[in-house]
Amino acid sequence: MSLDVGPARDTLIGGEPPARRAWMRVMSERPLMVLGAVLVALVLATGAIEPGYLSLRGLRNTLLLAAPLGIMAAGQTLLMLTRGIDLSVAMIGTAAAYVAGNQSPNGAGIAIVLGLVVGCVAGATNGVGVGVFRVNPLIMTLALSGIILGLFTQWAQTFLQGSTSVAPFIRTIGAGSFFDHRIPWNVLIWGAVAIVMIGGLRRTGLGRMLYGVGDNPEAVRLAGVRIWQVLLAAYTISGFFAALGGILLAGQSGAVDLRLAQNFLLPSVAAAVIGGTSIFGGVGTYSGTIFGALILSVLNSMLTFLDAGQAVKQVVYGLIVLALAWLYAAVTRAE
């Protein structure tokens, strides 16, 4: 007489075709394998468009160009793990590069250190806003980005004038290579960042707390963690990485201007999202982000070879981010 109320959603997902389920399982258990496959496919496709790309030099370029992005995305990953975001990475990077440029006459060492200090201070400002005053991260970092832009626009015309070139050492680490021009210096730095990030997230108490704050802030608060301390640390580290990325970028292009890193903001978020870091916090790895940065970098090369223009680039970027985020969401739900 009476009908069933209907199957629950879980049952529906359980009833999906086996092929799709298997695919979802690979994606959820070995996301890096899937990302690696995408990367290889992209490299091959780019090689098909421009055969010269499939050479040692071509691949070295990919790494060289991906490194600053990968480093900036490191901070972004950290913050997304804590349910945050940093929309000021690009401006922080630019500011650090400016300061490094300004201080270059005093020697590369001082220039780099001061640049990094600027990054840490800017990051810590974000951290205080978000951690202590509970300002929404989006707003806090957006506002700081505007403040830095405004300040540096004025300073660039006054006391930071003449900061547009950087010391030779910075150029070397930003763009030079060693081992018979095969391995870029900045990739070495990126490797160090990767070791610190991956090891730090897995093997330090701070790493544990970063995941914890993002996964369930209430739970870590009740465990006695003072969340503002974790956030302050996270934003400061992000500022540091943004500065490092900015300085390397200045070394790469050999010059500093106020737009230096602006093209890296959205890709830094995209790299983390593509790598599987959830903006809801608590889930993600830096290894994923590395793949994200590499994928975007290869994609960029491919679009350069096609002279695809800004329009196509933007559409492709957007669709990739959306598609992967959707896929991750579906996989997480199906689990």
């Binding site: 007489m1 996964d215 369930n216």
Partner: protein
């Protein structure tokens, strides 16, 4: 049961939330013109059943008939159209909207709600007030008045009286009687058995997601209801040897002197000694949550004194309390869980609350975590993400992270709510062990039967005060219940 079709007949309703089975298979029949009680311990599945009937969630299996016609409510509006109106346990008024806009939102004419409210003596309510600023009891009555506007065949009230003072509860009963007399029915959920005896004609009792009994409350009274609700717990309670009475150490770990906090605490004094399990009993909303918050450093007290290890303290955050060894197992285990992280990370989550420990992993983290996993026999099949653990195992994590980190006083807020009998036994055993090792444990429970099982002493809280204290071994449920109702204490 009767010739004419029942008003509501639900059969075989089942519902899972992920790995938690909320309803296994429930049958429920409500006749026209009756006030039908739906009873069961916390987590028995009452609210889930109501939500299925009201179209808020869809059951995994089962069928629903209203006056003999099958219905398939997919959203609350569907159920309302078929003549089912509900006052849910969760607040259904939008906190940031005014009362008037809340009513407009649901397409209800404010004037008609006001009429209904007048009947309950709240005619003067200011509809321009913002919902979140209106006291909870009034919101509940308002929710009821809003449901009554639809003049439903079946009105479902999920714990509406839990937050109501006696006078308002009385007015709600009058509204229920009025409906009954007009041949309409009410499905009434409450934890207060006295209310059931007073207003209900029949009762269906849920336990662990099944309907285990249909009882006419008058016959056999409270005893039968309790027995049916508690089921196995009562059985084990009889079998299991009661906790051996022990002499606690003299050392007082936590002492509260006349603590006050807003309207919630009106002067609470207690002493928690090392090596004892101090039970706390209270009806819903007597300030027990606030007491735990204050002791755990989650909220400051307004007045009175708090001493830990004999030193006066004013914790400003959980960190301050934890630094002194006072740790909390919160009422909601979701508040102690990192759902997407592994079992190990969950157990280690209380180890790194000091900046000094951030820069590497504790060398003995693995040892500590392994020790806890062994001691708690945590099922580690779902290692990767704690959210995949069953409820009982999740609760073990909430306890386990303090075992890993160490503590002096453990504040447990209803730690066995909604978990099965076997795991409960494990937790009892663990707490006894811990206290034997010298830990001080404050144990709030909503299940009175647990008190003699594990506690040494018991306190009863009523209206923000401790109104009764006795030996747990000699505590009997009726006596505690009486005290919890304020019958011996300072009263109303």
């Amino acid at each position: 049961m009767t010739d004419e079709p029942a008003l509501l007949r639900a059969r075989g309703i089942a519902k899972r939330y992920g790995s938690v089975v909320a309803l296994r298979s429930v049958d429920l029949t409500v006749e026209p013109g009756e006030i039908h009680a739906l009873l069961g311990a916390n987590g028995a599945g009452k609210s889930t059943l109501v939500k299925v009937l009201a179209g808020v969630i869809r059951a995994d299996a089962g069928s629903i008939e209203l006056s003999g016609e099958p219905i398939h409510p997919r959203k609350p509006a569907d159920a309302l159209r078929s003549g089912l109106a509900t006052v849910f346990q969760d607040p259904a008024l939008i906190p940031d909207l005014t009362i008037e806009r809340n009513l407009r939102l649901t397409g209800v004419e404010p004037a008609r709600v006001r009429e209904g409210l007048e009947g309950m003596g709240l005619g003067g309510l200011d509809f321009d007030a913002i919902a979140k600023e209106v006291p909870l009891p009034i919101l509940r009555v308002l929710d009821l008045a809003r449901a009554l506007v639809h003049d439903p065949q079946l009105l479902m009230l999920d714990e509406i009286t839990a937050a109501l003072p006696a006078d308002l509860a009385e007015r709600v009963f009058i509204a229920m009687f009025e409906r009954r007399d007009r041949g309409r029915s009410v499905l009434f959920i409450t934890h207060r058995l006295a209310e059931v005896l007073r207003v209900c004609t029949r009762a269906t009792i849920l336990r662990d997601g099944r309907d285990v009994a249909a009882i006419v409350p008058g016959e056999g009274g409270e005893g039968r209801l309790v027995e049916a609700m508690l089921g196995e717990v009562a059985a084990t309670a009889a079998e299991a040897s009661r906790a051996e009475p022990r002499i606690a150490e003299e050392r007082v770990v936590v002492e509260a002197r006349d603590l006050t906090s807003r309207d919630y605490l009106r002067g609470v004094s207690l002493r928690l000694r090392a090596g004892e399990i101090l039970g706390l009993v209270a009806l819903e909303g007597q300030g027990q949550d606030r007491l735990f918050d204050v002791l755990a450093g989650d909220r400051p007290s307004d007045g009175g004194e708090l001493l830990v290890g004999g030193t006066p303290v004013r914790p400003r955050s959980p960190y301050d309390a934890i630094a002194r060894g006072v740790v909390l197992i919160p009422s909601d285990r979701a508040q102690a869980l990192l759902p997407q992280r592994s079992v190990r990370e969950n157990l280690a989550s209380a180890l790194y609350n000091r900046v000094g420990r951030w820069f590497s992993l504790l060398r003995d983290e693995e040892r500590r975590v392994d020790g806890v996993i062994d001691r708690l026999t945590i099922d580690t099949r779902a290692q990767r993400q704690a959210r995949r653990l069953s409820g009982g195992n999740q609760q073990k994590l909430a306890v386990g992270r303090w075992l890993a980190a160490g503590f002096e006083a453990l504040l447990c807020f209803d730690p066995t709510r909604g978990i099965d009998i076997h795991t409960k036994d494990q937790i009892y055993g663990l707490l006894r062990e811990l206290s034997a090792e010298g830990a001080a444990i404050l144990y709030y429970t909503s299940e009175l039967a647990e008190i003699p099982l594990i506690c040494d002493r018991v306190l009863v809280m009523y209206d923000g005060r401790i109104v009764h204290e006795q030996d747990a071994a000699s505590a009997d449920e009726a006596m505690l219940l009486g005290a919890a109702h304020g019958l011996q204490g300072v009263g109303s």
